[in-house]
Structures are given as C-alpha cells and as structure tokens.
C-alpha cells in the first residue's frame, strides 16, 4: 500500500493546535502582567512578572477556601458515583429480578431530560433540609447518576458469566462476587467514569451558583463568576484566578489522558 505523505496533515493540525493552545498561553502571560500592560493597544505579548496578581486574587476572594471546597466536592462526588453506579450496574448486568427491565428503562429516561428540570425542586429540597450554602448541597445530588450506571453496566456485561457461577458454587454471595471478582475487572470502566466525573464535577456552574451564594461555600467555577463581577476588566487578577482554578484538572488530564479519552469514546460507541 502506498504510504501517504503526512506533512499536509501536520500543517493543518499544527495550525489548529496553535488556535487551541494560544488562548491558554496568553492567559498565563496576562496573569503575570500589570493592569496597564494588560490593556495596551497593540497588545503586549510578554509577561511583566507581576507575581502579586496571584497573591491578590487569593486575598480578594476566599480562593483557597473555594479551592478546598472544589477538591472536597469533586472527590466525594466521584467516590460516590463510582460506588453507587457500580453497585447498581452490577445488579442490572448480573442479577435477575422482577422489574429489572422496566427499572432500567426508567434510568435511561432520566438521561433524556435536560438538567434544568431538576434544579428548582432540588433547590427546595436543600432549603427544606437547611442545606443551602453547604458542601452537602453540592455533593448529594452529584453522587447519583444514570449515565454512570448505564456505562458501567456495559462493562459488567462484557465479562464472562462463568466467573460468577464458579464463585457462586464456592459459596460467595453477590456482594462478594461484585467486590472481589468483578470490580477489579471493570477497572478501566471505573477509571474512565472517574475521569469524566472529575471533569464534570470540577467545572459545573449552574447548580453551585444557585445553591451556594456565600463566597465561603462556593466552588471555583462560581467563585470565578463572582470574581468577574468584582474585577470587571482587571484581567491579570481574573486570569490568575482562572489559572489556579483550571490547572489541577488540566494536570490530571495530562497524566490520565488515556482513561478520559476511553470514557469519551465510550459515550460515542453506545449512541
């Protein structure tokens, strides 16, 4: 087979990659500029090493606190999703019980509904519980997910039945089969779902914005939004905040790239 030349592909891909990268690179540069430098015409493309922007942004909003909130919420939501989704997925894939099919259809129906429909009643539930402006308010709805259940079910279905049967003959109950035998085998699925959940949970804006209005209880997304109101066009400060807020997930992605890509490719394959 003739080997196609790859240089035209590189030319186009590199140009595109530059468009993808440039806004980030520039955000980083401006986060280290003085305010007058950031407003220059024509734009100045070099940093002025104004490190105090980072100190300022930590001082002006409780950024450290919001960072911690985001880490706690994301960790709890991800752990909860992995546990609850895998339990339900295991039962859907491996156990027979009346109403299983109907129940699963109900799970799928939830996937079709835009998230905004859940918002107002969830807000009222949180109000009833006295959970407005708390981290529980951000965690509780997040640990339940129809998508994760659906995704992990596919992974459980791909494992051979003989595994369960052999363990069952040895006297293992379903919970033991789930935990000791099958869960280690669906590790790729867990990692993929974990990465997707981290990404979604870290970035989500609307629900945190609505339910936690106290800056001390905000996550970084909502914190950045409120920072915008405070600093209108002070972009060096806004960007210092953005860099701090987005760097952890970017770093995690660079390390766990394969798992996240696998998760996304999965969402496509089941369309």
């Amino acid at each position: 087979m003739s080997r196609p030349r790859t240089s035209p592909a590189h030319l186009f891909l590199a140009a595109g990659a530059l468009v993808m990268l440039a806004p980030f690179a520039w955000q980083l540069v401006v986060s280290l500029q003085t305010l007058p430098d950031s407003l220059r015409v024509p734009p100045k493309f070099t940093p002025s090493w104004q490190w105090s922007n980072f100190a300022d942004v930590f001082r002006s909003v409780p950024l450290a606190r919001q960072f911690l909130n985001t880490v706690v919420v994301t960790a709890a939501v991800t752990a909860g999703q992995l546990l609850l989704c895998s339990l339900a997925a295991f039962a859907f894939a491996r156990l027979r019980f009346p109403g299983r099919g109907a129940l699963f259809l109900l799970f799928l129906a939830v996937l079709m509904v835009p998230g905004e429909l859940f918002l107002i009643p969830r807000y009222e539930i949180m109000m009833e519980l006295g959970w407005l402006n708390s981290l529980q308010a951000l965690i509780a709805p997040g640990v339940f997910g129809a998508f994760g259940t659906f995704m992990l079910r596919q992974f459980f279905l791909s494992l051979p039945r003989e595994l369960d049967e052999a363990a069952s003959i040895d006297g293992a109950n379903p919970l033991q089969i789930y935990w000791h035998i099958l869960l280690p085998l669906v590790r790729p699925g867990l990692l993929a779902l974990g990465m997707l959940t981290v990404m979604w949970s870290w970035s989500s804006l609307l629900w945190p914005l609505v339910v936690n209005t106290d800056p001390e209880m905000m996550t970084l997304s909502a914190g950045l939004a409120s920072l915008r109101g405070q600093y209108l066009t002070n972009f060096p400060i806004l960007f210092a905040g953005s860099v701090v807020a987005s760097l952890p997930v970017i770093a995690l992605f660079v390390v766990m790239q394969r798992q996240l890509i696998a998760g996304i490719a999965f969402t496509g394959s089941k369309g």
Partner: protein
C-alpha cells in the same frame, strides 16, 4: 442460587441508586411539571394558576428572543461539526507522528472549566484592547464590540462553543473512523480511487452513525448553553438581548427574580424543545445515516 435470594440481592444493590434517582431526578421532574402550573408567592408557597405561565411566556418578547438566540447558537455550533471530522480524519492518517500530543492540545479546551474559558475569551473579544480586533485591524477590518453588541455577541459565543468542543467531537469521530474496516479502502485502491474520493465515497457514508450521534449530543448541549453566556456577557449589558439563551432566562427568572413557577414553565418548554428536536433528528436520520 435460589431465585428469591437473587431477587433480594438485586433490589438491595440497586436500592441506593434508585432511591437517589427518585429523590433528585424523578421527583423533581414531576415537581417541575407541577410548579410550571403555579405562581410562587412572596412569602413562599405556591398558588395554582393553570396554564397562565405558558400563556404569559408565549406572548413574552424575552422568551421569543431567548428561543431565537438559543436556536441560532445551536445552528452555529452544529455548523462547526465538520471541523471535528476534518481534525479526526487528519489524526487518522496512517503513519502520523505526534498523535497523542495533538490529542492533548485539542483537548485542553475540553478539560478546562467553562468559567475560565469564558473569561479568557472575554479578553480576546474585547472591542478596545482584544487580540481579535487587533488581528482584524492589521487586515484593515474595524472589528465591532463583540460582547457589547446584541448583533454580534451570540456569534462570538458560538466561536468559543465550537472551539471548546472540537477536541471532544474529534475523539468521537476518531473512534468512528477506526471502526471502518480496512477492506473497504483496499477494494477502492484496487479500483484506483484517490484519497479524496475514498474520503467522500467511503469514509463519510460509513461515518454517518457517529456523525448522527455527535449532531444529536451537540444539539442537546447547545440548547442548554448557559456557562459561556453567563461568563462572557455582563448582567446589564445591552448585548444580553442578543445572547440571552433559554437556560439563562430560566436562571434569571427563577433565581434572580425568584419567580419559580414561571421558571419551571421555561424549563418545561426547554424539555419540549429538546424532545421535539431530538425526535426530529431521529426521523431525519433515515434519510442520511447508513447502518451496516
């Protein structure tokens, strides 16, 4: 295992998730449908108003504005989908080196929180000192105040929407491309078909199931756009008239003006729109999607 015991285990293991979905998903759907027929009082509590909220929304200019803006945004973002096909096809060129580096770079916007993305592009689109107008200026074009002008804002936001999703869609397309059996191409090569002809006659038709999926999720996500608008357009900006989306209106109505009943009605209309357009896409697919 005894079947009765298996049943019990099944219900037990599903119970936590089922309970959570019931409380945080199913009940809210029912509740939102109910609330959309009520008006929220100043001191809390709801009064039944029947279809009054819908009647109000169907004569409300802001609602029609939001509907129009949302649909325009969706069309613009959908128009960006071919870009992802091109990127995926190039990434799929045999013998291409640096695939994982490219993938990482194209993915940066996907993994970055929309709030940070929105702020970055606010700066780039600034009418006075933004880089975009600077570049346009060197080409002799006097760029507008993108984010301050109701005629331009939604286009600027759509550019960012496309920019943030190219990588995501390209990954889906790449998976689709890799699923096309090699023998199709081998046969075409024997027939002497060139690369471009192969792409048009083999790749694009066999990719249509993936394309259909990407179109549907892109559309559903676009209909719910909020983050970028919220971050890029100021609350009091005149540009909001040209960029306020349905979910933005929902947020404003429900949580700034605290008219929860009316906001619930907006959410119900959004649900109707999403279901209707998705059903339409599924009908349309018979005309252009090839399943083997």
């Amino acid at each position: 295992m005894h079947s009765k015991r298996e049943w019990a285990w099944g219900y037990l293991l599903i119970a936590p998730m089922a309970l959570g979905l019931a409380v945080f998903y199913l009940w809210p759907i029912v509740q939102t449908l109910y609330l959309s027929m009520t008006e929220s009082g100043v001191f809390g509590g709801y009064t039944w108003v029947g279809t009054a909220n819908f009647a109000e929304l169907f004569t409300d200019e802001e609602m029609y504005g939001a509907l129009g803006n949302t649909l325009l945004y969706s069309v613009l973002v959908l128009a960006g989908v071919p870009l992802s096909i091109v990127v995926a096809a190039l990434l799929n060129v045999p013998g291409l080196r640096g695939l994982s580096l490219y993938r990482t770079l194209y993915f940066l916007p996907v993994v970055t929180m929309p709030a940070a993305v929105g702020l970055t592009w606010r700066y780039l689109f600034n009418g006075d000192f933004g880089a975009i107008n600077h570049v346009l200026g060197t080409a002799g074009i006097d760029g507008p105040y993108w984010l301050g002008d109701p005629d331009f804002a939604i286009y600027a936001i759509a550019v960012v929407g496309i920019w943030s999703s190219v990588g995501y869609n390209a990954v889906l397309f790449l998976a689709g491309l890799q699923g096309i059996p090699r023998h199709y191409y081998e046969a075409a090569e024997i027939d002497g078909a060139g690369r471009l002809r192969q792409f048009v006659r083999i790749t694009l038709p066999l990719l249509t199931p993936t394309t259909f999926f990407v179109v549907v999720i892109t559309m559903i996500n676009a209909l719910q756009v909020f983050d970028l608008v919220y971050l890029m357009i100021d609350l009091k900006s005149p540009a909001l008239e040209g960029s306020r989306t349905i979910v933005y209106l929902f947020y404003e109505t429900g949580f700034v003006q605290n008219q929860r009943g009316l906001a619930a009605a907006i959410a119900v209309i959004l649900l109707g729109l999403v279901l209707m357009l998705t059903a339409f896409q599924f009908r349309l697919q018979k005309k252009w999607v090839h399943y083997e």
